[in-house]
């Protein structure tokens, strides 16, 4: 089984996670730029973070047989902090990088005017750079927030097939699929979505334009949730080809729209141990 996790924050994960992910079949990941838990206090903190997403993290992932790409943006939470806003002026140069396959995570957290401004401006940047957009939907007041997000996406003029709305649930999936956007689901223990509910959604809404991710980060989360969902799909009667569609071909198709997804395509039945080096420490 080959798995592409289209949304996972590897910066917060250990090398043990990389090993376990490889053994579970994960061969490629996209790491969206997001909040670090600890607030940033200047744009320079973002630049160091973006450099890590483009330099150190793909280097680390490669040592475990996993291809790492990223998305770049000012996240919704910090769009409210005036100390962080100037990062918007430097996004242009980061969005031009080879391994940047979308603008993201953008979207709403508390639906403030500042978030409105950052969302609209960054959707515009996606259009200018010919990139897809990864849009986070708010955890509080989710249905209303998702509706409002879809309105802003429509007004921006970006093609709906270039947009994924993420962290969806039973109440928001319908309107997103109807809009022509992609529907993203974060299988995250206790909150967001479980693998069994995910299977029910796939039964009810089909497997087209659906992305399944672990969204694993520094919170209580599990980088193997993509594999668990694949197993739950098989147990529920979905065939291997449909599992491959949802967990590999769909994320490849979505991020492939960037023209920058330079991917070594693994065979679906590749073995599960990677003879990599241990991580280089730069001991000198």
């Amino acid at each position: 089984m080959r798995i592409f996790d289209p949304h996972i924050h590897m910066t917060s994960r250990t090398t043990d996670d990389y090993e376990a992910m490889y053994a579970a079949g994960v061969r490629a990941v996209v790491e969206p730029a997001f909040w670090l838990g600890q607030p940033r206090t200047s744009p320079e903190s973002f630049y160091d973070y973006f450099d890590g997403l483009l330099g150190w993290e793909p280097y680390r992932a490669a040592q475990f047989g996993i291809q790492h790409f990223c998305t770049i943006a000012l996240n919704p939470k910090e769009a409210n902090d005036p100390r962080c806003i100037p990062v918007l002026d430097e996004l242009d140069r980061y969005l031009a990088k080879d391994r940047v396959v979308a603008v993201g995570e953008i979207g709403y957290d508390s639906m403030t005017p500042e978030e409105d401004e950052a969302l609209a401006r960054q959707l515009q940047l996606a259009v200018e750079h010919g990139l897809p957009a990864l849009v986070h939907t708010p955890h509080r007041d989710k249905a209303a927030g998702t509706k409002r997000t879809l309105d802003v996406v429509r007004e921006s003029g970006i093609a709906p097939e270039l947009v994924v709305l993420d962290h969806l649930n039973e109440l928001t999936v319908g309107m997103v699929l109807d809009s022509g956007c992609w529907a993203g689901f974060s299988i995250y223990p206790r909150t967001k979505m479980s693998e069994d509910r995910m299977v029910e959604i796939l039964k009810g809404h089909g497997t087209e334009r659906v992305l399944v991710n672990s969204a694993a980060d520094w919170g209580r989360s599990d980088p193997l949730k993509t594999r668990r969902t694949a197993d739950a799909m098989l147990a529920a009667g979905f065939d291997d080809d449909t599992v491959d569609q949802v967990l590999w071909r769909s994320p490849v198709a979505f991020y492939g729209q960037s023209g920058r997804l330079e991917l070594d395509e693994p065979k679906p039945d590749e073995e599960t141990t990677f003879e990599g080096n241990s991580i280089r420490r730069g001991g000198a």
């Binding site: 630049y47 973006f50 450099d51 483009l54 330099g55 280097y59 430097e90 242009d92 140069r93 980061y94 031009a96 990088k97 080879d98 391994r99 023209g259 920058r260 280089r280 420490r281 730069g282 001991g283 000198a284």
Partner: protein, 216 residues
């Protein structure tokens, strides 16, 4: 190994028609609007390709060198633009900046970039930093430390551009001491340090003599 020349190889034979057009338009734009390089420089690799041209240059590095030499800037203004590209660059862009330093009229102003690369732990950047620019500009003590770092990081000393010209008694002493430390720990001494040490026989103490005799 052939020393790198002070010009970048011409990328054009390796470019297809759309790539040639892209590079011609990009250099023309940068010549009239230097700030345009901030979006064009990162995009060069996917427009021009990344095949190897010779022992020192890939197509993307040569194309990026063409963009840098198109900048109509000098002195501090040139250094600021180049520093910004390096500071916000991914590893491939940073390698390209380091490789192009000897082509740009920068004096000592790019030394902070060389030092940053030498402090890091990406061997490809350390190698790119130790080209002709470092040979000409890096102070003696820093050059010696950089060579020693290469030994620790297992970067072949044959890849260090100015080694023959810049090796001195103190560097040979440091490498001989390093050999001593290795032998005392029961470990091997890397072959590529031997010629440097042998060029200064006075630094070879009795306890490491056997490691530096010709037949070893």
């Amino acid at each position: 190994m052939v020393p790198p020349s002070l010009t970048a190889p011409d990328p054009h034979p390796a470019l297809d028609d759309p790539a040639r057009t892209w590079l011609a338009e990009a250099t023309a734009r940068i010549a009239s609007d230097p700030g345009a390089i901030r979006r064009l420089f990162p995009a060069a690799r996917r427009h021009c390709g990344r095949a190897r041209l010779d022992a020192h240059w890939t197509v993307d590095e040569a194309a990026r060198a063409a963009l840098l030499t198109a900048l109509p800037l000098r002195g501090r203004a040139l250094a600021d633009e180049v520093t910004g590209l390096y500071r916000h660059g991914d590893p491939a862009e940073q390698r390209a900046v380091l490789s192009a330093l000897p082509l740009l009229d920068l004096g000592d102003l790019a030394l902070p970039l060389v030092r940053e690369a030498l402090r890091g732990n990406d061997n490809s950047l350390i190698e790119a930093a130790l080209g002709p620019y470092a040979t000409d500009h890096l102070p003696d003590d820093e050059f010696r430390q950089a060579v020693l770092k290469c030994v620790f990081c297992e970067i072949p000393l044959g890849h260090v551009h100015g080694l023959t010209a810049r090796a001195d008694h103190e560097l040979a002493r440091m490498l001989a001491d390093f050999a001593h430390e290795r032998l005392a720990a029961g470990r091997d001494v890397p072959d590529d340090i031997r010629p440097v040490v042998r060029a200064f026989p006075g630094v070879i103490g009795e306890e490491v003599q056997h490691a530096f005799t010709e037949e070893s």
